[in-house]
């Protein structure tokens, strides 16, 4: 009954795991393979189209960064075991609120942004609170908010301005410190230097003659990278990250072990709302306007990016880096098809196909991890 011999000798029934198998159970694998495949494809087919020139790279990087911002929130929430289908409507709603506060009510832009953030995070908290208190699937609760928020996004501007697009935000945001954090660009002098040195193209005529075609890194990209790093560190290097996994893996088991599951889930709903608002604010500052149809279908795109990144729809497993790679694949393909001159509607075909492939791969990987057959 001592079991000491058993403890010293290694168990003969445990087979050595092959390197491939070890790599397979990393959640990011699908994202890495997919990203390599996508880049290879476009390098071969669209290299001469300008996709890999400075302005081309900036083009798909910005689109990917947009996907990344909402994918980080959706990823952490999905690992915690919940969905948020109201992300797209939240983007439209947040943008519209900024426009109404700053243009219709003529408040300073920074106050408009701050109040919008508070409102949207509060709505995220309400989403979470309803899910926790009622025990309903988050799918249904956030589907309700998808319609409620979209409805208000169309109703308010019509009521106040008799139109569904509110413009003029660029002028109002001129010189505003907080607007710069979302809509500004950094590294302008560096890109000017690259332009002068002939490393990147410069405009050859017009009133911007001599300026580089890429005149700085948009803050949108900085936000995306910041959120990815924050999300990754939070998930893998902190106690709270372990609680996120535990809450999504088995909420009852987590509760038995003393994990504050409700708090974790509520905070993740709030974080998702925060990410959506960051997306909306960057978009409004870039376009200078807010439209009632902004953010349509973004909730699904975020979820698809997360699933391509290896997260399980059932929660408890996934990776922020994977989700970011999923977003990158998205951005590159969406813009790449344009550069390659392919009919853009085919992007949706690609979307559906890659989603199906990713889910099948993930299910297989889950069986590998848990040893089911």
């Amino acid at each position: 009954m001592t079991g000491s011999t058993q403890a010293e000798a290694s168990d003969e029934r445990i087979k050595d795991q092959s390197f491939v198998r070890k790599a397979l159970i990393r959640p990011e694998l699908g994202g890495i393979v997919g990203a390599i495949a996508v880049f290879t494809f476009f390098l071969l087919t669209a290299f001469d189209s300008g996709m890999f020139s400075a302005s081309g790279v900036m083009n798909w990087t910005v689109v990917s960064a947009q996907f990344m911002i909402i994918a980080v929130g959706a990823c952490l929430l999905m690992i915690a075991g919940e969905f948020d289908l109201s992300v797209g409507s939240m983007i439209g709603f947040a943008g519209m609120m900024i426009a109404i506060f700053s243009i219709t009510l003529e408040w300073p832009v920074w106050i408009a942004i701050l109040i919008t953030f508070v409102m949207c995070i509060a709505i995220g908290a309400i989403n979470g609170w309803i899910v926790i208190r009622t025990g309903l699937p988050s799918f249904i609760v956030t589907l309700a908010f998808l319609f409620i928020l979209r409805g208000f996004t169309i109703f308010f501007p019509q009521l106040l301005e008799r139109k569904t697009i509110i413009g003029g935000i660029s002028d109002a945001a001129e010189g505003d410190w907080l607007a710069q954090i979302f809509g500004g660009k950094i590294g302008g002098s560096f890109f000017q230097m690259l332009g002068d040195a002939g490393i990147i193209d410069v405009f050859e005529r017009g009133n911007r003659m001599g300026e580089p075609v890429v005149d700085g890194i948009p803050m949108l990209i900085i936000w995306a990278l910041g959120l990815v790093i924050f999300g990754h560190v939070l998930l893998t290097r902190t106690r709270f990250g372990n609680w996120i996994f535990a809450s999504g893996g088995d909420a009852e088991a987590a509760r038995n072990s003393g994990v504050p599951v409700n708090k974790v889930k509520a905070l993740m709903f709030m974080f998702t709302a925060f990410c959506a608002t960051v997306f909306a604010t960057c978009q409004v500052m870039e376009f200078g306007s807010a439209g009632a149809d902004r953010g349509l279908l973004k909730e699904f795109e975020a979820i698809i990016a997360v699933v391509i990144g290896g997260a399980l729809l059932t929660g408890g497993y996934g990776s922020v880096i994977g989700a970011a790679l999923g977003a990158l694949i998205f951005g590159v393909v969406q813009q790449g098809l344009f550069f390659a001159g392919v009919e853009s509607s085919l992007f949706r075909v690609f979307l559906g196909a890659i989603l199906l492939g990713a889910v099948i791969l993930n299910t297989y990987i889950r069986r590998l991890i848990t040893g089911e057959r």
């Binding site: 159970i25 535990a246 088995d250 088991a253 987590a254």
Partner: protein, 260 residues
């Protein structure tokens, strides 16, 4: 004889008009394995839930290390050192063994004033504790889902012991296991007992109880039918007590008829 760690005296628990426990007394001493036997509905689960602070007794007294205790909730009981390993394990299959081991009690280290998970420490402790229990892991990052049912029980037990349990309540730990896995869990119980921890082992399998138990208490319809020491009681006696003498007598002739 050493003083008991926990003493439950004449515990009654009523749920509305239903009397689930009608005066049950049990005590657990350090380093002993006290088996709680009983058929389904005998009140085993209600009793251990009272012990672990989930239910408050309607009447009766609980003494913990000689002092009267009044647990308000499971956290109180856990902090006092009463750990329960449930039938439905508090384990998450998709997470690694070390992440499961420290779930809710993660070690942290400070880097630049911020608290980060101390993964290295968690991994080392997990490997050491599991080796003590006779389980060699492929690595601390092995997912719990790849472990067998018996090994998962052992992880849960090792975790409770590491976090300072004085009383370990095992709720039907062997009910869903095969023969070999059951033997592993029973040997784990033996190792835990050697560390001076009092084990409460709930089962309706008399054979498993006799294999590790020091004392046996049989519950029937919310009442104690007495506590017996190891060697003072036989397999058949325990078995009859569990079914409650009369009923078994009635059952046997019918079974005899069926066999003919």
């Amino acid at each position: 004889m050493t003083a008991p760690i926990i003493e439950m005296k004449n515990i009654q628990k009523h749920f509305g008009s239903v009397i689930a426990l009608a005066g049950v007394s049990v005590d657990v001493k350090p380093g002993e394995c006290h088996c709680l036997l009983g058929d389904n509905g005998a009140g085993k689960s209600t009793f251990i839930k009272t012990m672990s602070g989930v239910h408050k007794p309607t009447s009766g007294e609980i003494f913990f290390e000689g002092k009267p205790m009044n647990f308000q909730n499971p956290r109180d009981a856990m902090e006092a050192g009463i750990a329960t390993v449930h039938q439905h394990l508090a384990m998450i299959p998709l997470m690694s063994v070390s992440r499961n081991f420290f779930m809710g009690n993660e070690p942290v280290k400070s880097v630049l004033g911020m608290k980060f998970l101390d993964q290295k420490k968690a991994d080392e402790i997990t490997m050491t504790e599991m080796r003590k229990m006779g389980i060699n892991l492929r690595g601390p990052d092995q997912a719990v889902g790849t472990l067998s049912g018996g090994e998962r029980q052992t992880v849960a037990i090792a975790r409770a012991v590491h976090f300072g349990a004085k009383i370990l309540i095992l709720d039907e730990p062997t009910s869903a296991l095969g023969v070999r896995q059951t033997a592993n869990v029973l040997s784990t119980v033996h190792k835990v007992r050697e560390q001076g921890i009092g084990v409460v082992f709930i089962t309706h399998n008399v054979r498993h109880a006799l294999a590790v138990g020091d004392r046996f208490t049989v519950l029937n319809r919310g009442q104690t039918l007495g506590t017996a020491k190891r060697g003072e009681i036989e397999y058949d006696e325990l078995h009859d007590m569990m079914a409650g003498g009369d009923e078994l007598a009635k059952l046997v002739p019918e079974m005899g008829k069926a066999a003919q």
